[in-house]
Amino acid sequence: MSDVFFTRAGQLAARKVADEVVILRAHDSSLYVLNPVASAVWEAADGRTSLDAVVRDVICHEFDVDPETARRDASELLASLVAEGLLRTSDQPMAPADPGAPGGHPA
């Protein structure tokens, strides 16, 4: 499977509360609360870090899960976050999120 890079979509406000990231979408006020694993993926979404790297260096490191399961679950999680319009993906590294843009608001 080829690797994938991902970054935060625009028009989002996000804050980390305890170990969960809370995201508020501007155009329809939709609210999302990410669990700790999804929060780790969100925090790593800088457009330059690949999903494989996040699985290896963050998920397997911080959570009690084997690499194969972690890769499969992370792929499904990424797909759902993309489907919700919270993340964008590419098969190439992307420009880092602009911290001044709403979508790049630090969590």
Partner: protein
């Protein structure tokens, strides 16, 4: 238009002047906001209101609310009104049907826009002051906001049974009375107090309450805060305020039956 009457409605220490040449509307506004009129206050904002004639059936009366920022102006429209507001000049106009609801809605929207930049928000919640401390009770319609306000002891002051006004002042969150009424069909009292706690309501045979973690508190707040503007900067400000409030003010889930004994658990 020659203004025949101006009422100044002060909510949260922000006086807003409403001027109209229509005597019937002036009377409606004075009744609606009677506890919050401050004729001597210098208004922070000013709206001129004109009335849509009775026979004018243009427009869709069921049109949903739209709030848009265009060219530095806020434009608001709904089936029963059109409004425009310039936050720089602090002036605007409302063209509305003869009812108290349109001006009431415009005031709510204007206050949500102002509060989002002032560490504050309007919350679907009743609020009650007891012993100098404000308690907020939030949740969707039918969950008991009005009921718990009605059950409050005689020494309590009801700030509102429907829409609570919260703003940070001097490093602490204050709740202010509002004229925005729910089932009581009467406004709250124009007083304020520091917020001691916020409760998310649920029905249960026996009263109980449990402390919410900060993340759950933020979720509860965000689901009940009034917010109309699809504006990224204001959205970020609002989320930051909700998180700061959840950090500063304890939040609980309160299950209760319609019985005054519930107030023994609220400290």
């Amino acid at each position: 238009m020659q203004a025949l009457a101006t009422v100044v409605v002060d909510v949260g220490d922000v006086p807003v002047a409403l001027s109209t040449g229509d005597p019937a509307l002036a009377a409606v506004l004075q009744r609606r906001f009677h506890r919050f009129l401050t004729p001597s206050a210098a208004p922070a904002f000013h709206f001129d209101i004109s009335v849509i004639p009775d026979g004018d059936d243009t427009g869709d009366r069921d049109e949903d609310l739209q709030v848009r920022a265009e060219g530095g102006l806020w434009r608001l429209r709904r089936g029963d009104f059109r409004a425009e507001w310039d936050p720089e000049t602090r002036r605007g106009w409302i063209h509305q049907r003869l009812s108290p609801y349109a001006a009431d809605s415009v005031l709510r929207i204007v206050h949500t826009l102002l509060l989002s930049r002032a560490r504050g928000f309007l919350l679907h919640a009743s609020s009650v002051v007891r012993n100098g401390r404000a308690f907020l009770f939030t949740g969707p319609s039918g969950v008991g906001k009005t009921t718990i306000a009605r059950l409050a002891p005689d020494d309590a002051v009801v700030l509102t049974d429907e829409i609570s006004y919260v703003r940070q002042v001097g490093g602490r969150y204050m709740a202010y009375g509002t004229p925005f009424a729910g089932e009581l069909s009467d406004s709250g009292e124009p007083v304020s107090a520091p917020v001691a706690a916020v409760f998310g309501l649920a029905w249960a045979a026996d009263p109980s309450h449990e402390r919410l973690a900060e993340g759950a508190a933020v979720q509860m707040l965000m689901r009940n805060i009034l917010f109309f503007a699809a504006d990224p900067a204001l959205t970020a400000d609002l989320l930051e305020t909700a998180c700061d409030f959840a950090d500063a003010v304890p939040a609980f889930r309160l299950a209760f039956a319609p019985d005054a004994r519930v107030w023994a658990t609220i400290q």
